[in-house]
């Protein structure tokens, strides 16, 4: 009961303090708003790059050419082998020599002109498989494993390019993540500093609280709640800008395609709500942590 009463006191004092130290509170809130806005932009970028690279990665396939003139038993054995391989997705597609010939005839003028002369497809065209992998980082190993099978003649998967692409996406993702982390740390510092200003102007009050026998927890409590309130208020503007900004940006694009049809942005819903939630949580947690740290100095007896 007593704890609850003191917590209630803390909440009341926190709001009172935000109101009383209005100009300082506005300074803290706007500084948090600005950093949270940058965090929001970094989050939006990071998730879109992640999504985009995932999309592209899922499109990367390798084509396995079996030896010419493979027997049906060899084909069945090969199919059961790839079904058991861990890194291979089960949605692989097989193409018989006849199907391959038809595909080439349809796609290529040269083959079209000579296609009618071919009647022994099995001796010219390979049995092929279009295979997608679960983990694109392991595509090299999987390809080698397949190439080592006696029934396989060659595996094509755009060696080099795929790996380069994967490492570039990986790097972009890591940088975006790092930016978010750095910004969160910067926000902590900004909050610690601005709340320190508030606390500095209230160190008299704190010293009196200590003199009359307030416990450290009682002194800290309103400041931590104040940090919570400041974090909460500071996240309002970034959230509004994220929700409306991203949604209207997405709507202004053709079906969410940026620059080319290759780059597709995440649809605003539920993405913006997720980012908003992250912003609120970051603002509130960082606000509480920041003021907790800032007040600590004044609690030493």
């Amino acid at each position: 009961m007593k704890l609850f009463r003191m917590f209630k006191c803390g909440v009341r004092d926190a709001f009172k303090s935000v109101y009383r130290n209005f100009s300082l509170s506005i300074a803290s809130i706007s500084c948090i708003s600005i950093t949270l806005l940058v965090v929001a932009v970094a989050l939006v970028l990071s998730f879109n790059v992640k999504n985009f690279s995932k999309e592209i990665e899922s499109d990367v396939a390798m084509v396995v050419f079996l030896n010419l003139g493979v027997t049906n038993e060899e084909i069945t054995e090969f199919e059961s082998t790839i079904s058991n391989m861990e890194n291979i997705l089960p949605n692989w597609e097989a193409q018989t020599p006849t199907e391959r010939k038809e595909m080439l005839l349809a796609e290529d003028d040269f083959w079209n002109s000579v296609g009618s002369l071919i009647d022994n497809e099995e001796e010219i065209f390979h049995y092929t498989y279009k295979i997608k992998v679960k983990d694109i980082n392991l595509i090299n190993e999987t390809a080698t494993e397949l190439e080592n099978l006696p029934v396989v003649q060659v595996v094509n998967y755009g060696e080099g390019i795929v790996e380069q692409m994967v490492s570039v996406f990986d790097l972009v993702n890591k940088i975006a993540f790092l930016v978010v982390i750095i910004l969160v740390i910067v926000t902590v510092f900004l909050i610690v500093n601005t709340i320190k200003l508030t606390i500095f102007s209230r160190r008299r009050e704190i010293s009196i609280m200590r003199v009359v026998g307030a416990s450290n927890w009682t002194i800290k409590n309103p400041f931590i709640i104040e940090g919570f309130v400041i974090g909460l208020l500071g996240s309002i503007v970034p959230i509004i800008l994220t929700v409306y900004g991203y949604t209207s940006f997405y709507n202004s694009l053709d079906d969410g395609h940026l620059f080319s049809s290759l780059i597709e942005l995440l649809p605003p819903q539920p993405f913006v709500f997720f980012v908003s939630l992250a912003i609120v949580v970051i603002g509130v947690v960082v606000g509480m942590f920041g003021s907790g740290r800032a007040v600590r100095k004044y609690l030493k007896v």
Binding site: V211, V212, G213
Partner: protein, 232 residues
């Protein structure tokens, strides 16, 4: 029975300054004690150790049966709730009214709202400020402000009232008024009062126990003392 007992207490600050040397002192319940001494004599350090703002580097400092010298920082508030402290500069909150300033001391220790009201008004009545509950500190005279500070210090009914030069900022008339209030509290509530001062007239007028400190040592301890040149 002793309320305060110091045995071999020394205090050396981190910068190497020795403020108190091997001090022994006993103060009984219900006593009124003046602690006198010039600037840098160590009387402020002694007062600060009593409310555990400073920690003795050596010795035993027992208040109400507990060794304050060994009290952990996070537990200091438990001691402070049993003490009342009055400072030279009043330390009132300018944005709170007289009533709120006194009630503040009870609010931060989680007292019930109904109790806060009763105790605050009673305390303000005791210092003669019942008519000024709605005023702000800057609307009061120095003496009145100090009386608010005293009301705040005694609102929790402490066993010990520590005053660090409470009349330092006041003219002789107001000073006497303040010490009268403290004397009243001492007599009517049985509160032990320890007052550091260098106000010669006050000490000579009230004829209480006087402990003179010089260079960190007790040089005189009069039962019904006076402030003379010999004392310091």
């Amino acid at each position: 029975m002793e309320l305060i007992s110091l045995k071999g207490v020394s205090k050396k600050y981190k910068n190497g300054v020795n403020a108190i040397y091997d001090l022994d002192l006993k103060i009984k319940k219900g006593e009124f004690v003046f602690i006198i001494g010039g600037s840098g004599s160590g009387k402020s350090t002694l007062i600060k150790m009593l409310y555990r703002e400073e920690k003795p580097t050596k010795g035993e400092l027992i208040i109400g049966g507990k060794n304050v010298a060994k009290l952990r920082n996070s537990k200091v508030y438990k001691l402070r709730r049993k003490l009342g402290i009055v400072f030279q500069d009043y330390r009132l909150l300018p944005k709170l009214t007289v009533y709120e300033n006194v009630a503040f001391a009870l609010e931060v220790i989680g007292e019930k709202a109904s109790d806060i009201r009763i105790k605050t008004l009673k305390s303000l009545e005791l210092v003669g400020l019942k008519g000024k509950t709605r005023n702000y500190p800057d609307e009061l005279s120095g003496g009145e402000q100090q009386r608010v500070a005293i009301a705040r210090a005694i609102v929790n009914n402490p066993k010990l009232l520590i005053c660090d030069e409470p009349t330092g900022n006041l003219d002789p008339l107001m000073s006497e008024e303040i010490v009268n209030v403290l004397d009243d509290i001492n007599k009517t509530m049985g509160t032990t009062v320890i007052m550091a001062t260098h106000d010669r007239d006050i000490v000579n007028k009230f004829k209480k126990r006087v402990i003179a400190i010089k260079d960190g040592r007790i040089v005189k301890d009069y039962a019904e003392g006076k402030y003379d040149n010999e004392a310091i």
